[in-house]
């Protein structure tokens, strides 16, 4: 970094982005990275990306049909999530925000359990966080990054090798909690991978209005650990970078900040109208960089994937979609008593009273009808 009379200068921050695959799917030579992925791994990665996209589409469809209150589409970010998730061990924990469908599916969470959140069945989702090592969805921006930091610090204190993956967006980098989490994790050199999906927008706000930083990755320097920019639509690049970050974490070298440069091709949520703030060209440009197309071309060119396998995955994705529809369409609410059941380990007297009041009301409603 050049020093202007002793000043550190943002204009000298490297902005290069790690890429292994060109958009046409050809492997870039001499990147210094060599993914240690066998054929089965590569096909599994392909499979997760395709399944996630299909389940995601179903989320959007179901919202359009009135079956979900709202939905936050993932489309375009499959490589970032699957590449990163593939670098984790089963026992590692994932701390999602609200767009981590692909990561959730990699953790064997039924997408139905995610969509129930958006249906309004239950806040947080319906899965067991301990069974899946996948925290509940977290809507308040950046707050979950602190949970990941705390989890990582606890693992470190415990001498465990568990890694925590903190998922957040470009907009989230502006929140105080994102700052505090990276700072805490840095101080303890905790095994945390900070995984920022820079999809260029926070609802309508483009990155240029979110921060003047030359990259998001450079923010890591302020916390004393490395940061890296990776092409978020290149699943192999996302994998190798995450693998390095996970290795560092597991070996006790501390956190890494990954900035996966990608694009949110859908609306922020189904309630959003992106035509108000972004152009068609922008969208088209990123559609041309589709992560699944890119990876498929690579697999095809290398002769790794067969039409048969593609068909198998296509069939599986249809099954998932059908399963989602079957479970979500017309699903009833949870029984009302659950509202009182989980507030504390034991409901208080006042809560019990209120619960009785509700039953009386509900009985009254039934009498009327």
């Amino acid at each position: 970094m050049e020093e202007r009379r002793g000043f550190v200068d943002p204009s000298n921050v490297p902005t290069a982005t790690i890429q292994l695959l060109k958009p046409d799917g050809t492997l870039i030579p001499d990147t210094g990275y060599e993914p240690d992925l066998k054929k089965d791994d590569l096909l599994e990665i392909y499979r997760y990306m395709v399944l996630a996209r299909r389940a995601d589409l179903e989320g959007t469809n179901l919202q359009r049909q009135g079956e979900l209150g709202v939905y936050t589409p993932l489309i375009g970010q499959e490589a970032a999530q699957v590449g990163t998730g593939y670098a984790l061990d089963e026992g590692d924990w994932i701390f999602p925000s609200y767009r981590e469908l692909a990561l959730a599916m990699m953790r064997k969470i039924d997408p139905v359990d995610i969509l129930h959140l958006f249906r309004g069945t239950w806040h947080g989702g319906m899965w067991d966080p301990k069974e899946h090592r996948f925290a509940m969805y977290s809507v308040p921006i950046a707050t979950q990054t602190l949970h990941a930091a705390g989890f990582g610090i606890a693992a470190k204190l415990d001498g465990a090798k568990t890694v925590a993956l903190a998922c957040f967006g470009d907009g989230a980098t502006s929140e105080g909690d994102a700052h505090e989490s990276m700072n805490f994790a840095g101080v303890w050199r905790a095994p945390v991978v900070f995984f920022c999906q820079n999809n260029q927008y926070a609802i309508s706000v483009p990155l240029s209005k979110q921060t003047a930083a030359p990259t998001i990755a450079v923010k890591a320097l302020g916390y004393g650990f490395p940061g890296v920019r990776v092409d978020g639509n290149d699943v192999l690049a996302c994998y190798v970078v995450a693998q390095e970050a996970v290795r560092r974490a597991r070996e006790g070298l501390g956190p890494t900040l990954i900035e996966a440069v990608t694009f949110r091709r859908g609306p922020h949520s189904t309630a959003d109208d992106p035509t108000r703030y972004r152009t068609d060209e922008e969208l088209k440009k990123w559609e041309a960089l589709d992560p699944i197309v890119r990876f498929t071309r690579y697999l095809e060119a290398e002769g790794i994937i067969t039409d048969e396998f593609k068909q198998k995955v296509e069939d599986e994705s249809k099954e998932i979609a059908a399963h989602i529809r079957a479970e979500i369409v017309g699903a009833g609410p949870r029984p009302a008593h659950e509202l009182f059941e989980f507030v504390y380990s034991e409901p208080s007297d006042i809560l019990r009273r209120e619960e009785w009041l509700l039953y009386e009301e509900l009985a009254g409603r039934e009498d009327e009808s």
Binding site: G69, V70, L117, F118, R119, G120, T121, W122, H123, G124, V139, P140, I141, G171, A172, S174, E175, G176, D177, A202, I203, S204, V205, K209, Q210, T211, A271, D272, D273, R276, Y277, P333, R334, A336, L339, F340, V343, S348, I350, L351, E354, E355, L358, E361, L362, G364, R365
Partner: protein, 324 residues
Amino acid sequence: MPAMTMAAALNEALRHSMKADQHVVVLGEDVGKLGGVFRITDKLQQEFGEDRVLDTPLAESGIVGTAIGMAMYGLRPVAEMQFDGFTYPAFEQIVSHLAKYGSRSRGRMRLPIVVRIPYGGGIGAVEHHSESLEAYFTHTAGLKVVTPSTPSDAYSLLIRSIEDPDPVMFLEPKRRYWIREDFELEPNGLPIGKAAIRNEGTDVTLITYGPSVRTCQEAVEEAAADGVSIELIDLRSLIPLDLETIMESVKKTGRAVVVHEAQVTGGFGGEIAARIMEDDFLSLHAPVVRVGGFDIPYPPAKLEDVHLPDLDRVLDAVDKVLNY
């Protein structure tokens, strides 16, 4: 003029204030090009430019904290919190500075800031988008707490809040954004701190505010059909509180019910109930009964209807105080 929604009325109020005073600026997440997720700031950036309508980074403490700095410079910022549940990151700036700077500076540095917050439930939203957080502010000396229930009042109260020399937490009942009313685009005569009697009555005083006013209006009609005459008070401003209007009514009726969406325990209803009792115990023929949400985190959308005070819950309470 044709009937206008509360959302449009708020938009017009901002427009009015920005035209009237060039020191008024609007800031928040997505308030610019997008016009806010509820379109309350729709087209304002086009009209007034990026220097008057600021899309901020995603950081609520930052929004309120910089609004304070802007006010210190001499501007009159109107800050938007995107949803009730996302106000909490700004809590320190609100409690430790916004509320206290006037006192701390011995009145020399007043902060004429409005913090607009769409609040309350009933819109089928995901978690953190349906919070009734007014009681956190009514317990914080130095803040004014205002909440309209009709489009015309939304228009007037927002203009008056922007003109106010003190910080105002302006709580917008988001489930009522789309109710319509036919009215002149002129601030009405009611200042901040004055309640409105929405219905005169003699049997019971029903006290409420914001989103619950509508529910209570239905209760008034339903009760009237049963021959019960309810006096309906819409507080409009919780701080300052128009105790005079409340007490006059209770003296007349001898019975009161307070309604809000927030969980009952620790809610503003307790404050009103306690004040009524303290101020005029002897007029009371029955205990003041509170109607509100349960003492639970705001429920998922599919269960919010069992949580929110509805017509029946209000009428049950009215019955209770009548038949005490």
